[in-house]
Amino acid sequence: MDKEVVICRCEEVTRAQIEEAIERGLCTPRDIKQWTRAGMGLCQGCTCRSLICQIVAEKLALEVSEVSPLTFRPPVRHIKLKELAGLGGNDK
């Protein structure tokens, strides 16, 4: 696969950057996320999390099932601060 291809669309992290992180010894999706920001953007890895697992598996010669995926945390959908705060709202 082309090294310059963007894997994380939100944070614009390329495959090359992810591979470079793995070569530094960052060997889980969480390590890679913390180091490169892949999966840390607005969509929280919705799109790229499985791509990252695949790259880790390929680089480290593992099965995809052996790679622990990124965790999820609330909010699982982005939510405006004012909504989170219970302010505003449109009750009529």
């Binding site: 920001r37 609330p74 405006k80 705060a85």
Partner: protein, 396 residues
Amino acid sequence: MTKIIDEAEVVIIGGGIMGCSTAYQLAKAGMQVTLVERDTICSGATARTGGAVRQQWRGPNELVLAMESVKLWKNLDEELDCDTEYTQGGHFFVLDSEQEVEQFREIHEFQRQHGLECEILEPSEVQKICPILKPNFVAVSHCPTDGHANPFRTTHGFAIAAARLGARIMTGTEVKSIAHDHDEIESVTTSRGTIRTGKIVNAAGPWSMQIGHVLGLEIPVKPSKQQQIITEPLPPVVEQFVTRLSIGLYFRQCKSGSLQIGLHLDPFGLWRETLEEGYSLPEAEAETLDHISTFNPLREIPKRFLDAVTMPVLGECSAIRTWPGLYAMTPDLEPLLGEVPSLKGFYLVTGFSGRGYALGPIVGKLMAELIVTGKTSIPLDKLSVTRFDSASPAES
């Protein structure tokens, strides 16, 4: 005993900022060091910190450490060959009463004696340098040399640099037991096997009392929960790290553009009093505290934040992630540093009570000095565990 998988002069338990910084400095000093972490590097308390690199508002013992640490922070990127996103944008304590202002004036005086310059700013002055703050406060205590950095990058930076110098970093490796012959450490047994060693550094943060329990040692640290949220990346709005003690709020804008907003919790007794539906610190295991977000603060954080800023439009920006985190609290809110007198070779680097991240670089350096030479360039005696009488090994 399980099979011997490694032999090291020092085994560090915990892959947070303290463990990684200490590992780096020890490796740099030529020691053979192995770091064990039960999860991944930067997966515990450091991963959840606000990222403040602050000197002001610390007790005498910590102030010296923080100021020395800032000297290291300035060159850290070069030292580690890593962008830690460290910035000296200043730190604001937003003060809401004359009494608070008075308290900070006194602190400033004492800090000045140690060479740290801070100032009290009127709301009108604050408006000029930080227009995002709603001037609904009395004054601001500003330390221009304070700042913030990226905890992930810093911690991984230390770990990668340590590995480069020969340290062994073992993640997914949980400590099961520690063998000692009377008062001398012999080995540590992990989920992956046994490592022979004469020295152990307990840098397990909010879990360090559990490491103590492995030895029958009561380490006076208990976890306390805090909660943070982070927004989507935004255009630049604030340079300073802002703390408002009266409402427990703090925030900063990360290099990515995201606003990181948190609520200081129990140390200031805020939760029980102010949350509408009440909140009592659960007595549950640190384990669950660490993983499960609590509902009420998630609502409270943006409420307090939006009330503190001038741009109502920030209400339109989205929170993308929230997380709980743990502080490793000691009874006097000061850290536990140094060797446990009753157990030779067992060192504590814990109990930073939510203020440790900034101290990471200097503490690693001092611990390495202590382990290698038995002495430190800055005295740590007052931070020894001996100030409490609880830390004594159980009769075996």
